[in-house]
Symmetry: C2
């Protein structure tokens, strides 16, 4: 059984803050600063260029890939870390399209994260081969999987509502129709159990700064199913994905399996920070995390609905259909969130009217839920959000 | 006049090491660890998600872009930092091709860094429109610029030999022929004066871990000429390049100018390290750096040629035709470099037979040159490289 008091003690959590936004950026692992500092002083500082071999930097992307892979049901040796999530979405989609060259539809839903859709738009427009990006409602996805679909590209959990797609069922439908499935795990890796292998996913991508707690700008990851890994075209064919990067040949030859999905120089400092986050995951069982997450989300929904009649739940009530976040709608949602943040309860606002709260059992417990609801109820009951300064939109919301 | 003793004092340089590989990975700025630590503790740790606004993270890519832009003759507001160099090569080339849609040749040379060529191969293969990647000898480039060329894509200074292309002349030839020019500044930014604006470059890209000293995995940068910035298609169209990223619209609308070349979440920790490197550049004048670099390279060539008859210069003798590195050929170059590293003289080996030495006046001086040549001569004269352990190739060479 995971000791959640022990995992909570591994994070720096500021005084007076209840942090319900770990689904956007996880908190600082206490060990991270010293570990990154050590990498800077003892590795970069002392070893200089030889750090690539002697400090093992070159192997970090696959090492970390395997540690993340263990959390998402990936076969060992089939996940690699690097770049950003948008880049990995592009790479996965481009690769999947090349594996299914005779079809012209990419199917996604309007609950997919916009960047995934933008990257697909950019790719399909550039390919200029009559591709169609079909964007349907989440509940309409299954009905649109047919023999025109080349690739089904979905984010498993909706960033706004927490609605959770059934990866296994939709992947099976895609395969039955002759399509490939690309899954974005941004809101599932570290949030809920994921079984890529069992679900038969073809490609998957995700980020490490949300539930995995890798820090601002932490790298993304990509998974390629073993059956594709040896023939997938990486599309972004960089030197570190080459079979022999340091031969400096002029012709690209893809590396073995997942190695080919590497592109350029890995972000060593970010990866060292991510390592300390993964050390905390070594203390946890994702099934325990899920069970606690369901308890915390259920508790939050019940308490908010009892205390805040102005809010409307915008997340599936059935835990089996949602990830690890809860959203409520409010017409002045932006101002309400600013008022909450001013009181130390940090969640997210997501346009047009969502107050979004992430529940992350590694460091959030019942006392946090009670405290957050008490402050939320006070703000709503006493209209404390109704101040001009809470209505000025910041650049990043 | 730049005070090079003062700039040298800003770096951590290990005892007993003469570091002639700053053209591959610059050394640690002394201020970097504390600055990154501060970003981790006070920004990530204390501000959590609000760091994107309150710690100014979101603006870092353009802020750093402008600081780098000042070193390479870019107009303010036309450089942005992010991703890796390979990714930015892809983005620049894809964008340039879309600006010149009726031609089918991408011209480059075999002294271009292989990853640039690989990225182009991957892109052109995916576009599947009959593109040809024409790879010629560096000295043959000018003769191959004709009205079939869509994009001339070159690295300004050859990573093996230090041969320096004439950016202004070749860009003018390209423009006269109706082609666009994409320049990779990997071995010029921070090494020699670059005048992107004066040369009329259309796109430029570069990395920050070499002469700029940003650290292992530091982000890349991209420049788009003002005349293209408002119509360039970013190809990798991620949410942070969107006109309004936090509106979460489903349709991509490119941001203003260089902003559209942003893709995903910037690597905040790497950028904080890079800031301390750019602080040192604030103490230097690139023209002073160039003058010193020429002196140091000339001195090194003269001393090596006097003391090491086994070595053959593989760099233009004329300073005006080379960057800030010197290469010598030796049939056992790999083993010689291992022997040098074992004695504390760190350079690079580049296949098939190049010993490569970078000269970086911010922290390398005449005493370093004398010391390095003394050890090199000893190793060659006494065949100290002729040991089995020096001939075992490491993963990264």
């Amino acid at each position: 059984m995971t000791d959640f008091a022990a995992t909570k003690a591994m994070f720096h959590l500021p005084e007076g803050v209840i942090y319900l936004d770990g689904n956007s950026l996880g908190p600082l692992p206490r060990a991270a600063t010293a570990h990154v500092g050590q990498a800077m002083e003892a590795e970069w500082g002392q070893r200089l260029i030889t750090g690539w071999n002697k400090a093992g930097w070159m192997a970090l992307p696959t090492q970390l890939g395997d540690r993340i892979g263990a959390l998402i049901g990936a076969e060992p040796g089939h996940v690699v870390v690097g770049d950003t999530l948008s880049i990995k979405v592009y790479q996965a989609l481009a690769s999947a399209l090349q594996l299914n060259p005779d079809r012209r539809v990419v199917l996604t839903d309007n609950g997919n994260f916009p960047s995934d859709i933008y990257m697909a738009e950019g790719l399909l427009q550039m390919l200029d081969k009559g591709y169609e990006l079909k964007v349907v409602a989440p509940e309409a996805v299954a009905g649109h999987i047919d023999d025109t679909v080349a690739v089904l590209m979905l984010t498993e959990v909706d960033y706004r509502t927490g609605r959770w797609h059934d990866m296994k069922a939709l992947t099976a439908l895609a395969h039955d129709a002759g399509a490939l499935a690309v899954w974005d795990l941004a809101h599932t890796a570290g949030a809920v159990p994921v079984d890529l292998s069992g679900a038969g996913a073809d490609f998957a991508v995700g980020c490490t700064y949300k539930y995995l707690n890798g820090g601002p700008g932490a790298p993304a990851f990509i998974y390629v199913a073993p059956r594709h890994a040896g023939r997938a075209v990486p599309a972004l064919s960089g030197w570190l994905g080459h079979e022999a990067p340091f031969a400096f040949d002029l012709d690209y030859r893809p590396g073995a399996g997942i190695e080919r999905m590497r592109v350029g120089t890995p972000p060593v400092l970010q990866i060292r920070a991510l390592e300390t986050a993964m050390d905390i995951w070594d203390m946890a069982d994702i099934n325990d995390v899920r069970a606690r997450s369901v308890e915390l989300c259920d508790l939050f929904i019940a308490e908010v609905e009892a205390a805040c009649p102005d809010l409307t739940l915008n997340t599936p009530r059935d835990a089996a259909r949602r990830g690890s976040q809860v959203s409520f709608r409010h017409s002045e949602g932006y101002a309400v969130m600013q008022a909450l943040i001013a009181r130390g309860v940090i969640g997210d606002f997501r346009a047009p009217d969502n107050l979004r709260f992430g529940f992350t059992p590694l460091y959030i417990d019942e006392a946090d839920v009670h405290g957050a609801v008490r402050i939320l109820a006070d703000i709503l009951t006493n209209r404390l959000w109704d101040r001009p300064e809470y209505k000025v939109r910041a650049a990043v919301t």
